[in-house]
Structures are given as C-alpha cells and as structure tokens.
Amino acid sequence: MKTHSSHNITAQMTDPSFIEEIKKIPGGEKILDCIQCGICAGSCHARFAMDYSPMQILKMAHLGLKQEVLSSSTIWICASCYTCASRCPRGLNIPAIMSGFKNMAMKNNVQAPIALKPKFHKTFTEIIGKYGRMHEPELQMRLLKKTSPGELLHNASLGLRMLRKGKLKLQPSKLDSSTHFSEIYKKASSEEAK
C-alpha cells in the first residue's frame, strides 16, 4: 500500500533536526554527500517491494521529511545486501542508515507498514536475552501468535519438513552463567534506553 502523498512538500512538513539526528547514526555522518545519482536504487535487489527508492529516502531525509521516511516500507524491506553501498560513488553506508531509520521508527513508535517487523526485532532480541542464542521454535510461536490459520498451517508444513531432517532444535541453549552473559545483556539494553 503506497503511503506516497499527492500534495506539495511544504516547509511545515520538514523537521530541521532530522539531519542532525541522522548524522549521529554510525554510518550516517556523510548523508549530505549524496548526489542523488540513483545507483543505489538501480542496484537494489529489493527495490520492487519498496514504496520509495533508497535514493528517494535519502532525498527525503535531506529535506527533513521525517514522518515520510520513518513510515515508509523501504526502510524495513532493506535486506542489508550492501550492493548499493559498495557502488555508491560517495561511499555512503546506506544499509547502516536504513538500520538507523528502523531504530528511530521503533523509538518514535511510528507505525510500520508491516506490523510484524518491529515485533520481530523486539521478540528476536528478547529471546537472545533469554538464552544467549536463538531458539527458532519460540520465535515462530511468539511472532505468529495472532496470525491466520493459513499462515500457521503453512509454517507448520515447513516446520515438519525441517523436523524430519533433524534441522529443528527443539531445546533452547543455555549459556554458562560464569561468563555473565545476562549482565552484559542487561547493561547494554539499559544504556541504549537512555
């Protein structure tokens, strides 16, 4: 569903502090270097699923259109394949900037076009906090708690396929408490929340 609006861009829509926020993202310092050449958009393997091209997102960022950027599907669809970044003539780390936008969107509680995405990041992180390593069955269950029967069936069939081949780890891992993994997790989590 396109969130592209048809009315003009007005100064009122722009947030002049947006650029400063972006410059604080590791990899976002050079954002104003973009010459809008479009090689990122041309290279993007996931472009077909985006409402705005990566180039457009950077342009919108230059103009301070914070709301538009953070509610786009683009920032969530970016697969971090680095094709854009490796070819960008200005050396912009576009995947890092997209990550930064995801982070900003979640912090600002901006509605993601796919509601599942912020939930995925949160849930994944929490499971890591719990076990130190991923536990796929729990991730699947927690994410798909409220989805359609069709979805559940579909995933069940894949799950069975994996189980039959011994590719499903049913028991979660447990890290040795002597290396204080959970302390690190707690400290880093609380720091960022500041």
């Binding site: 697969a79 894949l158 499903l168 720091e191």
Partner: protein, 299 residues
C-alpha cells in the same frame, strides 16, 4: 592451522550438516576450528542492531573478547555472522563513542576487547590459507562432469570494512574450489544476487521473489546443483525451494549443497558423514551423475 570457531545459531539447528561436513574435510586441509566456549548469538545482521545498536555490538564484542582470550582470529561458517561480527569489530575500532559504551557493558563481566582480532569467513580460509592446490591434491574422486553453480550471496563479498578476500562484483574463490574438485563451475548472472535472508520471517513473499532469481538462472545455465557457503542462503534456496516452486508455479528441483559437502564428496567421504541425508531437496541427482565414479570408489 587453528582458528577460534564461531558457529552461529543456524549451525546447531538448520545448518547442522554444514558443520558436519566441515569437520570431516578440515582434517585433510590441516584446518582446526576450535569452538569459542560459550559463544552467544552474534546479533543476526539487523535483527538486534535495528532494535538496539549498542546491544548488538556488545553481543558481538563478547564473542570478540572470548576469541581474544583464545589468542586466535575468528572464523565463521555463516556469512551473516561474518558480517555482523565484522561490523562490530570495525565500530569498536573506528567509533570511539561506541567503543567506550560497549567496553562499559562487557567490562563488568570481566571481559575486555582490545582490538586486533580478525574476523574471517571459512571461504577466505579455503582460498587463502589452505589454497586451491592443496584442495586439489586431496581429491580422491574428481567430480567430473558435475555442473555446479556457485552462489556467493552478499555478505562475504560486498560490505566495506569486512576482510575482503574476493572481488565484490565477480568473485572467483568458490569457482576455483569447484574447479579444484574436478567439477565445472557454471557461469550464471546471479552469483552475488541477494537471497533476502533477513526478510524470510517478516516478508516471505519478497524473499521468495529474490531467491527465485539465482535458482532460475542457475537452472537455465544447466547447473546440476547450487553450492553455497552460508546457512541463511542455503535455507532460502533449499528449505524454501518447494514453496518458491508452488508460489511461482515453476519447476526447479535443484539440490543445494554446502561448500563443505561438495568438498567432502570429492574427497571420497561417505555422504552420511557429510550430512547429505539432511538436505531437503534430494541430492540424488548428483549421485546419479557421479554414479560411474562413485561405484568405482565403492569397489
């Protein structure tokens, strides 16, 4: 040659056979992967990083610190882990603010990362430390006539700041391994296309559209199988292959092997030891093609 081995979460679950085969072939390549004790999840590219960048780098830094205690460079089998750990390594080196905050997080656990540990991918070890010649020398059963499409994916060739060991646009390391094994390395346009691994759970259709391309063009180029050095890519190409077939109404039936499995076959190791019974898309086609040679081996 010993390395601090970072398996990553997939290895203990969906990608068991990658590690099984690696263990089997490493003996012949003079490579010893010493698992980092008590390693934790790297952060899985953006899964944690987008949610909490500091936490993501701290998680990765814990592994870097543990490897530093072992006084060895890190080797991963998984491209995503390779990238995630590399990114953290670079941020610790280049971003003083990030470093001090991460240090604060891990120091309390009695861990310190002073930098200097390299993060490398297993393909890099094969191409540069072992060398194609050594691999060729260990081949007992050349995979003559087998057409193998190497699928590199993204994260071992492109990102800046990683230990680049191959050309980002036209890599050749896996092609050279395939040739050293006696097989034919198929040329097709999607060697480094993105499979969309990070989208598999939340944007399955997008991921399938992306993974479809290497499968189709490899098949069009007459490949007998695809080989890959990443569990995430392998999952999309293989475990999801049936879903892709039905979603786009196409026929693929292309076995997908891990690079270690292919090497193991050429080294004459039994398929079970290489975990080939775990592959979801049956590798029987490959056995068929190599039948003549394999029976020779059996006798």
């Amino acid at each position: 040659m010993k390395y601090a081995y970072f398996p990553g979460c997939s290895i203990h679950a969906s990608a068991k056979e990658y590690a099984m085969a690696a263990k089997a072939v490493n003996k012949y390549l003079d490579v010893e992967l010493v698992e980092i004790p008590d390693w934790n999840c790297c952060g899985a590219i953006d899964a944690v990083y987008a949610y909490n960048p500091l936490l993501s780098v701290s998680l990765a830094a814990r592994n870097l610190a543990l490897a530093q205690n072992m006084k060895m460079d890190i080797v991963t089998l998984c491209s995503a882990c390779f990238f995630t750990l590399s990114r953290a390594n670079n941020l610790m080196r280049e971003n003083a603010d990030m470093k001090s905050r991460v240090d604060r997080a891990i120091n309390d656990a009695g861990l310190k990362y002073e930098g200097g540990i390299k993060v490398r991918h297993y393909m890099d070890i094969l191409a540069n430390d072992v060398g194609f010649e050594k691999i060729r020398q260990q081949v007992k059963m050349p995979l003559k006539g087998l057409k193998v499409a190497p699928y590199y994916g993204c994260l071992i060739v492109r990102p800046t700041g990683i230990q680049r060991f191959d050309d980002p646009e036209h890599p050749t390391s896996m092609d050279n391994v395939i040739k050293a094994l006696g097989a034919e390395a198929v040329n097709y346009p999607d060697k480094t296309s993105c499979c969309g691994a990070s989208l598999v759970i939340t944007d399955e259709e997008v991921m399938m559209e992306m993974t479809k391309h290497p499968l189709l063009t490899a098949k069009e180029a007459q490949a007998d199988c695809i080989v890959t050095p990443c569990p995430m890519c392998h999952f999309n190409l293989e475990a999801k292959q049936k879903d892709i077939e039905s979603h786009f109404d196409i026929e693929l039936g292309l076995p997908v092997l891990y690079i270690t499995q292919l090497i193991g076959l050429a080294f004459g190791l039994p398929p079970k030891e290489l975990g080939l019974h775990r592959n979801i898309v049956s590798p029987n086609k490959i056995f068929e093609k190599l039948k003549g040679q394999m029976t020779q081996k059996a006798s």
